[in-house]
């Protein structure tokens, strides 16, 4: 313990230098903590924006459904899964899918029909809010359709247009009926824009003679549960369905998150390097300043190892003190950014990624990992950086050192 007390006393022998070093290291730590929290916040923000839109944090499909999207590969017991999600306060939206033909006047196009429960979709997902014209489906089935933007354009339709729908029903017959466009979606990704036609689940059942088949249950907790925990809790039994997380459902987003992670580490490495060099500089200066002192210590019989130890302890105490200080300021900054955030709309207007409009306020997210890691690595880097000047000091020839001016 004396070694640390000794180090502490030594540090304050040159207050000015130590304070500057402490300021540099703590600032570094604080910046690292804040930028990690911001990056983490950006990732979570992006992921939430994407998953909250329509995909969800995970989805359950009938076995093999995603391979060929066969109408008949539906979930065997969707009610059970929905109930289990409900009991755990997890948002679960059941959906049915079917392909067919949609026609207005002389124009017609292929479309993918989504049979949904408007009430649940509105509570669990953001897509119902992304309406450019008109409104979303009403809670009761009223033969309304919400269409993708490009599909509407290619059909030359608008809100209120009468739409003829023709599909191959589940029993082989020709399902057909008239619907009215109630709403048109904002741009929300190419496949949605081009082909999406949302209808009430009851209308879907009648049109497709589907008997209430459910092809997909989209799960969303809006970030309340970690994805892996959500998957753990909701993973259905073999034969009951297949669960996929957003990482599998949105591989592009998953890749983007992975790239972000790498970027954070690169930035981190640069900060650590800068901080490390700062400490090394301070320690080097301190070494040259005290060459006579080291000479006397050596002449009195202090072993080189002891000198290295003393110097390393000094650096460690310095960095620990700075890191604690830096964590304090870093947390204050991160907390502010977590609560208030940065309003990016002043710089960039509304930001959108692959057509999805983002919440312009960018918020930081504080995590234990994002604090502990910078502090730990900062201490190790600084201590390691002090070893070079320490070794120089340890190898001094005592006689030359004493006469060094």
């Amino acid at each position: 313990m004396t070694i640390f007390r000794y180090a502490w006393r030594n540090l304050w022998r040159n207050k000015q230098r130590t304070i500057i070093t402490i300021a540099a290291i703590s600032l570094n730590t604080a910046i690292l903590i804040i930028s990690y929290a911001l990056m983490d916040g950006m990732i979570k923000h992006t992921v939430n924006n994407m998953t909250n839109m329509v995909v969800g944090e995970a989805q359950i499909h009938g076995k093999g459904y995603r391979d060929d999207r066969s109408f008949y590969k539906s979930l065997p017991n969707p009610e059970q899964l929905i109930q289990s999600a409900g009991n755990q306060n997890i948002g679960a939206a059941p959906r049915s899918y079917g392909y067919g033909l949609i026609s207005v006047g002389t124009k017609s196009a292929g479309a993918m029909f989504w049979g949904i429960n408007p009430d649940i979709e509105m509570n669990v997902f953001d897509l119902p809010k992304q309406i450019q014209h008109g409104q979303y489906l009403s809670i009761e089935a009223e033969k309304g359709l919400v269409l993708g933007k490009k599909l509407t354009r290619s059909l030359n339709a608008g809100v209120g247009s009468e739409i003829i729908v023709v599909v191959q029903a589940a029993d082989g017959s020709l399902g057909n009926d008239l619907y009215t466009v109630t709403g048109i979606l904002k741009t929300a990704g190419d496949s949605i824009d081009r082909s999406m036609a949302i209808m009430h689940k009851d209308d879907f059942r009648d049109l497709f003679v589907s008997g209430g088949r459910i092809h997909e249950i989209a799960l969303n907790t809006k970030g309340k549960l970690e994805t892996c925990e959500l998957a753990e809790r909701m993973r259905p039994d073999e034969g009951e369905g297949e669960l996929r997380t957003w990482r599998e459902l949105l591989p592009m987003l998953s890749d983007m998150v992975n790239i972000f992670d790498v970027v954070i580490w690169i930035f981190g490495a640069i900060f650590f390097l800068a901080a490390g060099l700062g400490v090394m500089n301070t320690m080097l200066m301190a070494t040259y300043e005290r060459i006579r002192e080291f000479g006397i210590q050596k002449a009195l019989g202090t072993s080189p190892l002891r000198i290295v130890g003393n110097m390393a302890a000094e650096a460690f105490v310095l960095s620990l003190f700075s890191a604690v200080l830096g964590t304090f300021f870093g947390l204050i900054g991160s907390y502010y950014l977590q609560e208030v955030g940065i309003d990016t709309s002043m710089f960039a207007g509304t930001f959108s990624f692959s057509g999805i409009a983002f919440d312009p306020v960018w918020r930081a997210v504080i995590s234990a990992q994002g604090v502990i890691f910078p502090v730990l690595v900062m201490c190790i880097t600084c201590t390691a950086a002090s070893l070079y000047p320490a070794i120089i000091a340890a190898r001094l020839d005592p006689v030359k050192a004493i006469y060094h001016v």
Binding site: Y72, L101, S103, T106, S108, A109, G110, I164, V166, Q168, A170, D171, G172, S173, L174, N176, D177, L178
Partner: protein, 256 residues
């Protein structure tokens, strides 16, 4: 002179119909693969036609049967109306040139089929919309060679392999037509996709009098990847060259 030639032709034609082995041998020789394909193509072609058809569709998940009434005139006009089942009665498909319109009695609307739907199934059968529209003759679209001529399963057959011409608008990679060596009626047509995998098999059965001539009265289509599925077409009535008004092939008559 003309009369003499006509007489000679009449005699020759008469000879054709005599099933004497000595004669048929020489006639067989004279039939080129083009003539064989034309014969197959002409089997269902007239200046106009009217027919009643039972169509049975069997798939993995359902099976159903439709009764259809069909009219055609020239190469490019046809009209098909569903008589039963009740739910779909009155549903009609009009083909005029390369366009297809469907009439839906439930909503009392006519819709034009987009070109992107040409390759999809007609009324859930294993026929595509494209099958209905195709008007060109096989002999025009394909290069053909006789790849087998002899006896198979105790039946004398001729196999003609057709490779599509590069510029032909054909979805198949290869079509193999197998006809009876004696009657030149088709037995089987195998369709291969562009990777030369067998895609579907069309079989002709139940040869008997139909529309004033012996023809296969039943055809079935089986997709090669799922032999449990099939669409069978059975002609209960077929009449060639009846008098059909042009007005029948209009959107207005589609709605009647």
């Amino acid at each position: 002179m003309i009369k003499k030639t006509a007489l000679l032709l009449a005699v020759l034609l008469a000879i054709n119909t005599i099933p004497a082995p000595a004669f048929s041998q020489s006639i067989e020789k004279s039939l080129t693969p083009k003539q064989i394909l034309d014969k197959v193509d002409d089997l269902w072609r007239g200046e106009s036609s009217y027919g009643k058809i039972n169509m049975t569709i069997t798939t993995e998940h359902w099976s159903r049967s439709l009764t259809l009434e069909a009219w055609s005139k020239g190469k490019d006009r046809s009209l098909i109306k569903i008589l039963s089942p009740k739910k779909e009665k009155g549903t009609a498909t009009l083909r005029y040139g390369n366009n297809i319109w469907n009439y839906l009695p439930k909503v009392k609307r006519v819709i034009k089929l987009p070109s992107s739907m040409m390759a999809s199934a007609w009324m859930g059968s294993h026929f595509t919309n494209d099958d209905l529209v195709k008007e060109s003759r096989m002999a025009d679209d394909y290069t053909f060679t006789i790849t087998f001529d002899g006896e198979k399963n105790r039946k004398k057959i001729v196999e003609v392999t057709c490779i599509p011409n590069p510029e032909a608008a054909v979805v198949w990679g290869k079509v193999v037509v197998i006809v009876d060596r004696v009657t030149y009626l088709p037995l089987t047509i195998n369709y291969y996709d562009e990777d030369m995998n067998l895609a579907r098999i069309m079989t002709f059965m139940d040869v008997g009098p139909l529309g004033g001539k012996d023809r296969p009265r039943r055809m079935s289509i089986v997709p090669a990847d799922n032999s449990d599925e099939s669409t069978t077409v059975h002609y209960s009535e077929l009449e060639f060259n009846p008098d059909i008004s042009d007005a029948l092939f209009s959107i207005r008559s589609l709605q009647k």
